[in-house]
Symmetry: C2
Subunit: 95 residues, 2 copies
């Protein structure tokens, strides 16, 4: 693995290596219609809206979620290809 590849993969894994962010990804994916706003997520993770928004921003910056602003709220949706990319990079022998 080259230094550049290691830097890129480490940055992606760092976005994932946090329990609340892993739960947010799972909650967004499981939410009705495959999307959720911050208002849907604060109660299940038991954290304030600013804290949840902070974690969501890190996941969007890492390409793991998309963010679509509609009216008052922003709606987040999982980018499954990005998780698949991380999984493949960790275990290239997988099909």
């Amino acid at each position: 693995m080259s230094t550049a590849e290691a830097d890129r993969l480490a940055a992606l894994l760092k976005a994932l290596a946090e329990p609340t962010r892993l739960r947010l990804l799972s909650l967004v994916a499981a939410h009705e219609g495959g999307e959720a706003c911050v208002c849907d997520l604060t109660e299940p993770v038991g954290l304030s809206q600013p804290t949840v928004s902070h974690h969501l921003r890190i996941l969007v910056d890492a390409g793991l979620l998309t963010r679509d602003k509609r009216g008052v709220w922003a709606y987040y949706r999982l980018v499954p290809e990005r998780l698949a990319h991380a999984a493949r990079a960790l275990d290239p022998q997988r099909p």
Copy 2:
């Protein structure tokens, strides 16, 4: 994903989310006989032996490497099942 599952997976990903550690895993796996001592690894990563040993210890603690002391040196070997576990946890839809 439960809080306990998220805590466990985040701890494993935290061990992986560091460029030098990703390169060490790759170097150990690619080394002759599938194992390497710290003496084989300092030059390719360009870091001191104490720094490399520190990173190797984190990888052993996370179950990603085994450590086998033989004579003067300890020999490290990849645990591919542990990487496969991380990959599967990130992308459960994969076979």
